[in-house]
Every structure is written in structure tokens, then in C-alpha cells.
């Protein structure tokens, strides 16, 4: 058993909307072990970004309502921490973030070097924690600069010194995403939250970035929470995969086991929706439910082939379906070990 670095237990989050409270996360359990890359997979609107934001503590205060649960990171509940402590000690320091869109995440009016320098002022591993900004000497600036240059070489950017003088619009999307990964690694974090980091990129660039992320995660020993809607990219990079549907986590398993023997009916249908020449295409009938008045019990039951009265009554508990394989279903699909195609 890998010791968990992050453990989300029974997290419940709602958003106030015009039509009422949308229950975006419903009793979600989720964990990441040390040095693990965990994929959080689901269709749009399933709550994967909300979960990532809840861990970072950047949910909009006026709209989001935390109904309960805990987010335990290195033994401390992040939900109970004061926002300023979270800002100074955790966010951008021990937990960092790689955004989906490398095009809008840089400030267009400052050079890349200036933006990296600004980051190092506050979040350098040598900077004092929680005392605010203080003048720092030439030595620290020098060591920070060395660190930046070394990391830019590590993420395989051509001409690191030249790129620091450039402005964000002058570098390509793939290079910007490499820079984002470098920025996420600079504070020497324990956990990187990567929110769909390759969705905006072309396939060949995506392959390069995935390769880089995997290598760096192993090299630096950081854990990665990798949210994606694409099961293919999740297969490439993740050690373990958690699937969410309409605000509920339905299955969690080690990557190989997950693709070889999915147990939850939703997971199975999702895998079958992937285009494949041999099998033809089959979608999932019906559509994703609204979250203001979601279906009772298991939220997948109106679209599920195996649903019974029980499913509508209460949400199934966590069932062990093998080593580190959790499924939340009353009628899990039999573990047929067919050769994954």
C-alpha cells in the first residue's frame, strides 16, 4: 500500500445557481499516493475540475458551498486552514498547478523571464515561508536564476536564455506548455495538479508533453493529479485512474487493471464509446443529468442497463473489487478478463 499524500474523504460541494443549489460533488472519495500519477477521468460537467480547484482552495467564495468532508494533504485538513496560510504555505509551493490552456495563462505584457522571476520572488524553495515579500540578496537571486536555467534545460526548451527574453506570444503552444510545467516544478512541490494539460495541443506535441511529464514526475518524485476527458491520454501516463460521473466517483483502479477489467457499468460504456474499427461505435443513450436536481441514489441509474430499485434509493458504498480497485455499484460487471484491445 502506497502511503497517501492526498486523501479526499466524503467531499461535498455545491454551487448556488439561479435555479437552486447545484450539487457538483457528492460524497467524493479520492486519494493520491506518494509519487503516483492519478488520472481523474470523466465527461464535461462531471466535477473533475471542481475537485481539482477544491484541493487548491481556489473555488469562488460567493458561489461555492462546501457541504462537508475533508481534504487531507500530508496529514493536515486543507479545508480547515486559514486562506492566508493556504496561500503562503501550500498553494504554489507544495501544490502547484498546470493549466489547460497555455495560451491565456501567461501575462501577455511581461516577458517570460520577468514572469519566472516574479514567481521565484515569492515561491522559490529558498524563500521564507509566510513572512511576505522581503528584499533578498544577490546570492539568492543568483541561485534562483541557476535553478530556472537548469529546469528550462530539463524540460527540453531550445535556447533557454533566449526564451527568457521573449514574450508569451512569441513561443509556440507546445513550448508554452513546457514553460508551464517548468513553472509548476520550480517551487519543488509535492503535488502537481494538471488540469487537461494536453487538450489544447496537437497529437505529436501531446505525445512529447506526456513523455516529459512522466519522466519529470519520476525524476522529481512528485505526485500528479491529471484530469482529462480522454481515456487514451490517461492510459498513457497514469498509474491509477479514478472515473467520475455527474459529481460522484464511480470507480478507481490501477491503470492496467482498469482498462483490462472495468467493473462499473458506466466505465464499461465509456470505454466502449471510444472509436474502434473492430467493434463499431456505441454511445451511451440519454444525456448527463442536471446537477440541481440530480437522480437519487447512484446518479447513473437512469441510463444504466443493470439498474434496480435499490440503485435509485441510496448511493452504493465502496466495494473492493481487487487490489486497490474500488467500485461504487450494487451490480458491478463481472470481472471478465478479456484481452484489452
Amino acid at each position: 500500500m502506497i502511503e497517501p499524500l492526498l486523501d479526499v474523504r466524503g467531499l461535498e460541494i455545491g454551487f448556488h445557481t439561479d435555479r437552486g443549489l447545484a450539487r457538483v460533488l457528492d460524497q467524493v472519495n479520492f486519494s493520491i499516493g506518494k509519487g503516483e500519477i492519478v488520472g481523474l477521468v470523466g465527461e464535461s460537467g462531471c466535477g473533475k475540475t471542481t475537485l481539482a480547484r477544491a484541493i487548491l482552495g481556489v473555488l469562488p467564495k460567493n458561489a461555492a458551498q462546501i457541504g462537508g468532508g475533508e481534504v487531507i494533504f500530508e496529514g493536515e485538513d486543507l479545508l480547515k486552514k486559514h486562506p492566508s496560510v493556504l496561500e503562503a504555505e501550500i498553494r504554489g509551493r507544495r501544490i502547484t498547478f498546470v493549466p489547460q490552456d497555455p495560451f491565456t495563462s501567461f501575462n501577455p505584457v511581461f516577458s517570460i523571464g520577468a514572469q519566472l522571476e516574479e514567481l521565484m520572488k515569492w515561491k522559490s524553495p529558498d524563500a521564507d515561508v509566510g513572512t511576505g515579500f522581503r528584499f533578498h540578496g544577490r546570492n539568492r537571486r543568483r541561485s534562483d536564476r541557476d535553478r530556472v536555467m537548469e529546469l528550462l534545460r530539463t524540460v527540453q526548451l531550445p535556447d533557454p536564455a533566449g526564451i527568457l527574453r521573449k514574450y508569451p506570444h512569441e513561443v509556440s503552444g507546445g513550448q508554452r506548455q513546457r514553460l508551464m510545467i517548468a513553472m509548476a516544478l520550480l517551487p519543488e512541490p509535492r503535488l502537481i495538479i494538471a488540469d487537461e494539460p494536453t487538450t489544447a495541443l496537437d497529437v505529436t506535441i501531446q505525445a512529447q508533453i506526456l513523455k516529459l511529464l512522466r519522466r519529470l514526475a519520476t525524476e522529481f518524485g512528485v505526485s500528479v493529479l491529471f484530469t482529462t476527458h480522454d481515456l487514451g491520454t490517461a492510459y498513457e501516463i497514469c498509474d491509477r485512474i479514478t472515473v467520475m460521473y455527474a459529481g460522484q466517483e464511480v470507480e478507481s483502479a490501477p491503470s492496467d487493471e482498469f482498462f483490462a477489467a472495468p467493473r462499473h457499468p458506466y466505465t464499461k460504456r465509456l470505454l466502449e464509446s471510444l472509436p474502434s474499427r473492430e467493434r463499431g461505435i456505441s454511445g451511451i443513450p440519454g444525456s448527463i443529468p442536471g446537477l440541481v436536481a440530480p437522480p437519487s441514489g447512484c446518479r447513473f441509474h437512469p441510463r444504466c442497463d443493470f439498474a434496480t430499485a435499490e440503485c435509485a434509493k441510496s448511493r452504493p458504498g465502496v466495494t473492493d473489487a481487487g487490489e486497490r480497485h474500488m467500485v461504487r455499484c450494487y451490480h458491478p460487471v463481472a470481472a471478465k478478463r478479456e484481452a484489452a484491445e
Partner: protein, 332 residues
């Protein structure tokens, strides 16, 4: 003929001959400093009743190809022949008649629907423009189409923002189908959709193709989708077609190194992981300042000195499968 389609030319519904589209690159004083070759000497045919896939990465000119066919961009050089007629530079009134036959769906269906028009009005508009039908006939035609694309009738009274992305695609399709076109250019028809929705939309395309006897040009960057539904596929890189052939032949036996790298980059569940053995390095060069000869040579692992000398032409060396690589041609 460059792609050796002389034999099949008779049943080509759409044919592009040496089509070029150059966009000027302007400096700060609006002086032209160069040309961006979005399409460079593209020759290909679309046969009646087939689905031709156009694949490539962003900036390779695949959308420009679709828009040039539609006459949205006038081509710089070359000829576009549709159903036996040259449609390269049509006068606006002649183009209007053609639009009934040749249709285009935009990448983002949400943005291509007027947000202040109800779905019913959006579907009615093309019929008002292109046909002489009276109101009752138009309503009947709209209802037929709505049924064909699988939308409930109640949706006619909704606004575009009230329906989901998948349904917006269906409306976009319905809008085109009311005119009974023969060829539809689908520009990234599944981007931004979830896989489960994507699957139902793809099935819809196949159903409609049968029902209305359609021909599709399917522009996409998603190779697994293209493999799934296209009969033939053209791979583009920086404005040029580098490989063209039957989908199975191209996917199972790719000839051009770019096609090979593109295929190697697709994650395949259950097979070897690309992060362990993906070999392509670097990024595409600046399209305004292309390398000489073969554009891919700067990233190509097998490039030789000859690659820099001349642009290798697209040559068919197996029936129905052509490529533009110097090395595969010298080997053959």
C-alpha cells in the same frame, strides 16, 4: 496526373487540381514581407458516396482546404471542379445556386447559430433563401429533417444556448440537410464533444449518409475517429498532401514518415505506451518561412541530403495509395 486518378476521374464528385492558397504576411506598415502557403499545390478527388478524411495538425491547411472548396477563400492558383463544372471563381449569383449542392459545417456549431433566433427560425432560413416552398411546405420539410437528425420537435422553440453541444451539432446538420446537398464539408465535426456523445454523432453521420446519399469531406485532427468512419484519407503537413490513400492502407502501412509519427502519437489502449517509444522531436517550422525541399525534413529521422533539394511530388506507387516521400519513391 499527380495522384494517378485519371481512371477514376469520371466518378469524382469534387476534384482539386494544383490548388494553391497563399496568404500575404504583412509587417507593421502593412507591407507584404512574404507568403504563408496555406495550401500548396493540392491535387485530390472526392468520389461520389465516399467519406474522405483530411487529417493533420493545426496550421497544416486542412480548414483552408475546406474553405477554399466552398469559395470562402478564392484560391491563388489551380482549379476546383465540382460535378463536372469548374467552380473556381464563381460570380456571387452563380455561387448561390451551387450552395444547395455543396455545404459546409463550421467547427463550432454554437457560434454559427444566431443566439437570438429560435432553432425553428434557423432551420427555416435556408429554405427561404434557396427554395420557392410556401410556409406549410417549409414547416413539413423542417419537421422531416428534425426527425432524421434525432431532435424532438419541441426544440424548434428553443434558443441555441438552451441545448447541449451535441444537439447544436445536430441542428447545424439539419440546417444543411434541408436543402438536400450532395457534398458536405465537415470541419472538425466532433471536436469539443465527449466520447459518448461523439459516438452517437458519428453514427448519425453514417445513417444520414445512407439516407440522403451524401458525400462527406471529413476534416479532423482525431485520427481514431477518421480511421473509424472514412473510406479514404489525405494526410496534410504544412499545406501539402503528403500521403493519400484508402484508410486501411494508410493506417496499416503508412509510407510517409510524418504519417508514421502521427500514427505513433495516438494513444492506443492496451498497446505499447507512446510515452515510452515516441520518437518525433521538435515542432513544425514557421509556416511563413518553410525549409527548402520536403517541409518535414527538419524533423524527419530518415532525411537525406536529397530531401532539401526539391519538393517530392505526390506519386502513386501502389494502386490507391500515394505519398510524397523521396525515400519511399526511390525504394519502390
Amino acid at each position: 496526373m499527380k495522384d494517378g486518378m485519371t481512371v477514376a476521374q469520371t466518378d469524382a464528385l469534387l476534384r482539386l487540381e494544383g490548388v494553391k492558397k497563399y496568404f500575404p504576411i504583412l509587417n507593421d506598415w502593412k507591407r507584404r514581407t512574404g507568403w504563408l502557403r496555406a495550401l500548396d499545390d493540392v491535387t485530390l478527388s472526392v468520389h461520389k458516396g465516399e467519406i474522405l478524411g483530411i487529417v493533420g495538425e493545426s496550421g497544416c491547411g486542412k480548414s483552408t482546404l475546406g474553405k477554399t472548396v466552398m469559395g470562402i477563400h478564392p484560391p491563388t492558383a489551380g482549379k476546383i471542379i465540382f460535378d463536372g463544372n469548374d467552380i473556381t471563381n464563381l460570380k456571387p449569383y452563380a455561387a448561390r445556386g451551387l450552395r444547395r449542392q455543396l455545404q459546409y459545417t463550421y467547427q463550432d456549431p454554437g457560434a454559427s447559430l444566431d443566439p437570438r433566433w429560435k432553432i425553428g427560425r434557423a432551420l427555416d432560413e435556408p429554405l427561404v433563401i434557396h427554395t420557392e416552398l410556401n410556409r406549410a411546405e417549409r414547416t413539413a420539410r423542417v419537421r422531416d429533417i428534425l426527425d432524421a437528425v434525432g431532435l424532438p420537435e419541441g426544440h424548434l422553440d428553443l434558443y441555441p444556448h438552451e441545448i447541449s453541444g451535441g444537439q447544436q451539432r445536430r441542428v447545424g446538420l439539419a440546417r444543411i440537410l434541408t436543402l438536400h446537398p450532395s457534398l458536405i464539408v465537415l470541419d472538425e465535426p466532433t471536436s469539443g464533444l465527449d466520447v459518448s456523445v461523439q459516438a452517437t454523432i458519428l453514427n448519425l453521420f453514417l445513417d444520414l449518409k445512407k439516407q440522403f446519399d451524401l458525400t462527406f469531406v471529413f476534416i479532423s485532427h482525431d485520427l481514431s475517429v477518421v480511421r473509424m468512419i472514412c473510406d479514404r484519407v489525405a494526410v496534410m503537413y504544412l499545406g501539402k498532401v503528403v500521403e493519400l490513400g484508402d484508410t486501411e492502407a494508410v493506417f496499416s502501412n503508412p509510407q510517409h514518415p510524418y504519417t508514421r509519427s502521427l500514427l505513433a502519437a495516438i494513444p492506443q489502449i492496451g498497446k505499447g505506451r507512446i510515452i515510452e517509444n515516441f520518437w518525433l522531436e521538435g515542432e513544425p517550422p514557421d509556416p511563413g518561412n518553410l525549409p527548402s525541399g520536403c517541409c518535414f525534413r527538419t524533423r524527419c529521422p530518415i532525411a537525406v541530403a536529397g530531401c532539401a533539394e526539391a519538393v517530392p511530388p505526390l506519386i502513386e506507387h501502389k494502386p490507391g495509395h500515394s505519398d510524397a516521400c523521396l525515400l519511399s519513391q526511390t525504394n519502390a
